[in-house]
Amino acid sequence: MVAIEGLGRLLAEHPFFTDMQPDTREIVVGCCANAHYRPGEFLFKEGGKADHFYLIRQGTVGVEVHVPGRPGVVVETIGEGDIIGWSWLVPPYTWSFDARAMDQVRAITIDGACLRTKLEANHELGYELYKRFIPIMGRRIAEARLRIVELTTEPSRD
C-alpha cells in the first residue's frame, strides 16, 4: 500500500498526469510500476510486444532505429517530464523503434494491457488519456516533418 501511495504521488508529479482529476488518476495507479534503467539498457526493442508506456522522471532515453551490420541511429531523445511509447494504443501493439537509456533513467512504467482493459470499461478515462496523448503525437509528427524540411534545405556532409 505504501508503494501504491508513492506511485500515486509520483504520477501526480509527472507533467503528463499532473492536471488529471485525482480519482481518474487513481485508476491508472494500479497499472503502474517504478523502474530504473542503466545506461545502454533497452526499455524496448523494435518488433517487440508493446505492452507498456513510460513516464520519464529522470535521465534521457534515445529512440533508435536498428541498422543491420552498423551501429543504430538515434533519431530522438526523450528527457525528464516527457513520455515515450504509444504503440500500446494501436494494434498490433508492437514497437516501431528501439528505446535505450542514454544515462541512468528513472521512469514509471504503465502496463498498456492493464490500461486498455480499463479504458474499454471507462471511456472517461480513455478520453482523458487520449486528450493527453494526441497533442504529443501530433507535436512529434510535426517535428519529424519539419526536420525532413530542414534536412532538405540545410547543408549536408553526405
Partner: protein, 285 residues
C-alpha cells in the same frame, strides 16, 4: 594577385564601390562551409555591427551577400563564414590565402543590443545560422554584466555538422552561459540530445517575461522557432528574426530583396518579429 595591380581603395562614402581585402586565412568548417579571414589591402579599419552583411565580390564571377561572422571589436579583421550554394560561393571556396576579393558594406540593420539590457537573452539557431549570430554572441558576452541569463539553443544535422564546435565547447564551459545543442540524428551511443531546436527552447531556463530572443534560421524553420518562443511566453515584440532574400545592390535601389513595403538589405535583414508578423507568412511576398 600582384598588389601593384589592385584597384585603388574605394572612397569610404561610396557604397557601390568595393574595397579590396586580402584573404589571410581559410578554415574549412563543416562540409560545404568555410571561413575566410580578411584584411583590408589599404590597411584602413572596417567597422560593422552584429547582424550586418557585406557584398563579397569574386572578381570576374560575381557578388553575393554574406553576413559578417567575426568580432565587431576587431576592426582590422573581417571574418565571413560562407556556405557553398551557388556560382559565386563555389568560386569563393576555391580562393586561398593571398587572394583578393572585393567587399562592399557593411549593409543592413544590426541586431539590437541595448534594447535587451536587463533581460535574459536567448539565441535560437541552427547549422550555418550560427555564423550571423556569432558577432552578437561575442558582443553580449563582451557586455555580459548588462544581461541576466544567456542561453544558446543550437541544432545541426548530425554530430559532424556542428558549426564552430570548438567555440561552442568553450562557451559551454563558461559558468554564465547555457549552451544547448541538438542534432537530427546520431550514432547509437551518442550522449547528447537528438531532436528539434524547438525542443531545446522548451527545456532552456530563462524568465519568459524578461527575455529577448534572437532567431537566425532559414525562413521555413523560423516559423516553428517563433512558435516555440510564443509557447514559452515570449511575445513578438521581444523576438528578433533575420530574413534573407536575393540581395543585389545592398542599398535599397534595385528591389531584388523587397518584401512588401520593406527592402531587406536596408530595412533588414534583422526585424523585430511583431513588425513583420502580418506579412511573414504571405507566400506571394
Amino acid at each position: 594577385m600582384d598588389g601593384a595591380l589592385l584597384p585603388r581603395p574605394a572612397p569610404a562614402d561610396d557604397p557601390m564601390v568595393p574595397r579590396t581585402f586580402r584573404i589571410e586565412r581559410r578554415v574549412a568548417e563543416v562540409d560545404g562551409c568555410f571561413t575566410l579571414t580578411l584584411k583590408a589591402t589599404d590597411g584602413r579599419p572596417f567597422a560593422f555591427q552584429p547582424g550586418q552583411f557585406n557584398m563579397l565580390y569574386v572578381f570576374g564571377v560575381g557578388e553575393v551577400a554574406i553576413s559578417v561572422s567575426g568580432d565587431c571589436r576587431d576592426l582590422n579583421t573581417l571574418t565571413h563564414t560562407i556556405r557553398e550554394v551557388g556560382t559565386v560561393t563555389r568560386a569563393m571556396a576555391r580562393l586561398r590565402p593571398g587572394d583578393v576579393i572585393g567587399v562592399r558594406g557593411p549593409f543592413g540593420r544590426p541586431w539590437p543590443i541595448e534594447e535587451a539590457y536587463g533581460n535574459d537573452i536567448l539565441f535560437v539557431t541552427g547549422t550555418v545560422g550560427l555564423a550571423p549570430l556569432r558577432p552578437l554572441i561575442f558582443e553580449v558576452l563582451n557586455r555580459r554584466e548588462h544581461f541576466g541569463k544567456v542561453v544558446i539553443c543550437y541544432g545541426s544535422r548530425g554530430t559532424h555538422d556542428i558549426l564552430y564546435e570548438k567555440q561552442l565547447h568553450q562557451w559551454r564551459g563558461r559558468f554564465d552561459l547555457q549552451v544547448h545543442v541538438t542534432v537530427h540524428s546520431a550514432p547509437s551511443g551518442y550522449r547528447g540530445r537528438v531532436g528539434s531546436v524547438a525542443n531545446l527552447v522548451k527545456i532552456a531556463r530563462f524568465d519568459p517575461e524578461h527575455t529577448t530572443a534572437y532567431v537566425c534560421r532559414s525562413e521555413t524553420m523560423t516559423r516553428p522557432a517563433v512558435q516555440a518562443l510564443h509557447d514559452r511566453g515570449i511575445t513578438s515584440d521581444r523576438i528578433y528574426v533575420t530574413l534573407e532574400r536575393n540581395m543585389k545592390c545592398g542599398v535599397g535601389f534595385c528591389g531584388h530583396c523587397q518584401m512588401g513595403p520593406s527592402f531587406m538589405c536596408k530595412d533588414g535583414p534583422v526585424y523585430r518579429y511583431d513588425t513583420i508578423e502580418d506579412i511573414f507568412t504571405v507566400r506571394e511576398l
